[in-house]
C-alpha cells in the first residue's frame, strides 16, 4: 500500500511542474505588457522602469519562471496588479473559504440525491422511474447553470419571495447557488451510479446473496450499493473540478463573494497574478483530490493496486 502511495505521489510531481509551467506561460505570453495595465501606456519611462524592476519583469523568462515557482513553493504567489499590490495569497485566503463552502455543500447535495436516484433507476430498469430519471439527467447535463439560475430565481425569489436573489449572508442565500451548482454533478452521479449498479446486479455474488435468503433491501444496501459505488468515486473526483470552475459562473450570477467571482473580475481587469494564482491553486487542488480518490479507490478495490505497480 505505502509503495503504491509513494508511486502515485511521485507521478503527481511532474504533473504539478507542468501545471506551474502552463500557468506561468499563460501570463508570460499574454498580449500587452503588464506595465501598460499597471501604469498606463503613456506613463513616465522612469516609473515603468521602476515598476518593471519591482515586479521582476526586467528579468529573462527562465528567471521569472524560477521566481514564480520558488515563490509558489513558499506560499508566495506574487502581488496583484490592482488593489494597491495586495499579495495574491491574501486575496485567496479571504475569498477561497466561501467557494470551498459552496463547493462542498453542492457536492454533498449531489451525492445525497444522485447516488440513491441512480440505484433506484437501475433497480427499476426501463420502468417509469428509470426513464424519468434518465431524461432528467440529460436535461440537467444540457442546461447550463446560467439557464437554470434565472428560472429558479424567478420562481423562488421574485414570484414566491422565499429566497434572496443574491449575496452570501445567512443560510437561505446559499440555497439557490448550491442547488444550481449541484445540478450537473448530481445528474452525472445518478447516471454513473445507474450503469455501475446495472453492472453489479448481474454478478454471481448478488445472485448468491439472494439465494441465501437475504432480503432485497439487505442485498441492495450491503452488496450492490457498496460495490457499485467504487467506480463512481472517480466521477466524484471529476465533479470536484466542475464545482470549482462552475463556481465562476454561479458566483457571478448570485454575487457570491468567492474566488470565482474575484477571478472573473480579475480576468476582465487583466489582473494576471491573481488569475495565475487561482489557476495554480485550483489545478493543484484538483490533482490532490484525484490522488485521494485514486488512493481510496485502491483501498476499496485491491485489484487496482496490484495491477498498477507491477
Amino acid at each position: 500500500m505505502w509503495r503504491y502511495i509513494g508511486h502515485r505521489l511521485m507521478l503527481a510531481v511532474p504533473t504539478l511542474l507542468a501545471v506551474s509551467l502552463i500557468t506561468f506561460l499563460l501570463g508570460y505570453f499574454a498580449p500587452g505588457s503588464p506595465l501598460d495595465i499597471m501604469a498606463g501606456q503613456h506613463a513616465d519611462p522612469e516609473i515603468r522602469r521602476r515598476l518593471a524592476h519591482e515586479y521582476g519583469l526586467d528579468q529573462p523568462s527562465w528567471v521569472q519562471y524560477g521566481r514564480f515557482l520558488w515563490g509558489a513553493l513558499h506560499g508566495n504567489l506574487g502581488r496583484s496588479f490592482m488593489n494597491s499590490g495586495r499579495p495574491v495569497t491574501a486575496i485567496i485566503a479571504e475569498q477561497f473559504p466561501v467557494t470551498a463552502e459552496l463547493a462542498c455543500m453542492a457536492l454533498g447535495l449531489a451525492i445525497l440525491v444522485g447516488i440513491p436516484l441512480g440505484v433506484a433507476a437501475a433497480l427499476s430498469r426501463n420502468g417509469l422511474l428509470d426513464r424519468v430519471t434518465m431524461g432528467g439527467v440529460l436535461l440537467l447535463i444540457s442546461l447550463p447553470a446560467f439557464v437554470l439560475a434565472p428560472v429558479l430565481t424567478v420562481v423562488f425569489c421574485l414570484k414566491w419571495r422565499l429566497l434572496p436573489t443574491m449575496g452570501w449572508e445567512g443560510p437561505t442565500s446559499a440555497i439557490l447557488p448550491v442547488v444550481v451548482l449541484a445540478a450537473r454533478p448530481m445528474a452525472l452521479l445518478a447516471r454513473f451510479m445507474r450503469s455501475s449498479t446495472l453492472e453489479v446486479i448481474r454478478q454471481d455474488y448478488v445472485r448468491t446473496a439472494y439465494a441465501k435468503g437475504l432480503s432485497p433491501r439487505a442485498v441492495v444496501l450491503r452488496h450492490v450499493m457498496r460495490n457499485a459505488f467504487i467506480p463512481v468515486l472517480t466521477v466524484i473526483g471529476n465533479s470536484f473540478g466542475y464545482l470549482l470552475s462552475g463556481s465562476f459562473v454561479v458566483e457571478t450570477i448570485f454575487s457570491v463573494p468567492g474566488i470565482g467571482y474575484a477571478s472573473v473580475d480579475s480576468i476582465l481587469k487583466r489582473d494576471y497574478p491573481v488569475i495565475q494564482g487561482v489557476a495554480l491553486l485550483v489545478a493543484t487542488l484538483f490533482i490532490l483530490v484525484n490522488l485521494v480518490v485514486d488512493l481510496l479507490y485502491s483501498l476499496m478495490d485491491p485489484r487496482i493496486r496490484y495491477r498498477e505497480v507491477a
Binding site: V154, L158, S245, F248, I267
Partner: protein, 285 residues
C-alpha cells in the same frame, strides 16, 4: 461490417428520442445555413423606435435593450453555435487523432510525452482552462473573438480525443487482422489508414457528437461571462446575460435564447447517447 452497420442504422431508427434529436440537429443545421433567408432582420439591425418591445407583428419575439430583433438573433445564433461546435471539433479531431495514433502506434517517447502532457491538461478543470485562455488572450475585434474561442476550446478538448484514439489503437494493434496485414507486407501508413482508423470510427463519432454539445455549452458560458463571442455577433450565452436585468419585466428575452441553447445541447447529447447504443453491439439486445 456491412451487416453490422445495417443493424446500427436499424437500432438508431427504432429509438424515437434519437430520431427526434436527429431531427432537431438537422433543423439546426438548416437554420444555421439559411439564417439570412429565415431571419426578418439582420442580427445587428437596431430598431431604435422599438427598444425592449413585447412580441408583436413587427418583431415576432420582441426586441432587446438595443432594439435588436430577438428572433433574428436567435436564428443567427444557431450559426454562431454550430460554427464554433464544428470548427472546434475539426481542430480537435486533427490534433487528437494524429497524436493519439502516434502515441498508440509508435509508443515509446511519443507515448510518454503525450500521456504526461494530457495529464497536465486534465489537471485543469475544462471550463477553467478555457476561461483562463480566453480571458488572457482577449480578442481585439469581435471577429477575432471567434478565433480566440476556437483555439481555446480546441486546446482544452484535444487531450480527451487523443486519449480515446490512443486507447483504441493500443487495443486494435493486437488484433489478428492487423498482424495479418503486416504479414502480407502492409506499411505503417496503410495499416493505420486502412485497418486501424476505420475500426475506431464508431467511438470517435460518438465522442464527437457529445463533444459538440459540450463545446456549444462552453462557448455559451464564455459568452455569458462576457469573454466569448463579442457583440454584435449573436451568441445565445451573451443574450442570456444581456437579458438578466430584464428578468421580471421582459422574461421572454431570457426564455428564447435559453430554449434554443437547451434544445441544441440536449439534441446533441441525446443523439450521442442514441449513437452509442446503436453503434456498440454489446449494448444491443
Amino acid at each position: 461490417m456491412n451487416a453490422a452497420s445495417t443493424g446500427a442504422w436499424k437500432g438508431l431508427l427504432r429509438n424515437p428520442i434519437t430520431l427526434a434529436a436527429g431531427a432537431v440537429v438537422v433543423l439546426l443545421v438548416f437554420t444555421a445555413i439559411f439564417a439570412p433567408v429565415l431571419a426578418p432582420y439582420t442580427y445587428d439591425a437596431q430598431d431604435r423606435e422599438h427598444v425592449l418591445s413585447a412580441p408583436g407583428p413587427r418583431h415576432k419575439l420582441g426586441t432587446d435593450h438595443l432594439g435588436e430583433d430577438v428572433l433574428s438573433r436567435i436564428l443567427y445564433g444557431a450559426r454562431v453555435s454550430l460554427t464554433v461546435g464544428l470548427v472546434v471539433e475539426a481542430i480537435e479531431l486533427v490534433i487528437g487523432v494524429s497524436l493519439g495514433v502516434l502515441a498508440g502506434y509508435k509508443g515509446g517517447l511519443w507515448d510518454t510525452v503525450l500521456m504526461r502532457v494530457t495529464d497536465a491538461m486534465f489537471a485543469f478543470p475544462d471550463l477553467l482552462f478555457a476561461i483562463l485562455l480566453v480571458g488572457i488572450w482577449r480578442p481585439a475585434s469581435p471577429a477575432g473573438s471567434f478565433l480566440v474561442v476556437f483555439i481555446a476550446l480546441a486546446l482544452v478538448n484535444w487531450p480527451g480525443m487523443a486519449r480515446l484514439v490512443r486507447g483504441q489503437v493500443l487495443s486494435l494493434r493486437q488484433k489478428e487482422f492487423v498482424e495479418a496485414a503486416r504479414a502480407v507486407g502492409a506499411g505503417d501508413w496503410a495499416i493505420v489508414t486502412r485497418h486501424l482508423l476505420p475500426n475506431m470510427l464508431s467511438p470517435i463519432i460518438v465522442a464527437v457528437t457529445v463533444d459538440i454539445a459540450n463545446v456549444i455549452l462552453a462557448e455559451a458560458t464564455l459568452s455569458f461571462l462576457g469573454i466569448g463571442i463579442q457583440p454584435p455577433f449573436p451568441s445565445w450565452g451573451r443574450m442570456i446575460n444581456d437579458a438578466r436585468p430584464y428578468l421580471l419585466s421582459h422574461p421572454f428575452l431570457i426564455v428564447w435564447p435559453s430554449v434554443a441553447l437547451g434544445a441544441t445541447v440536449l439534441a446533441f447529447n441525446f443523439l450521442g447517447d442514441g449513437l452509442r447504443d446503436a453503434l456498440d453491439p454489446r449494448l444491443r439486445e
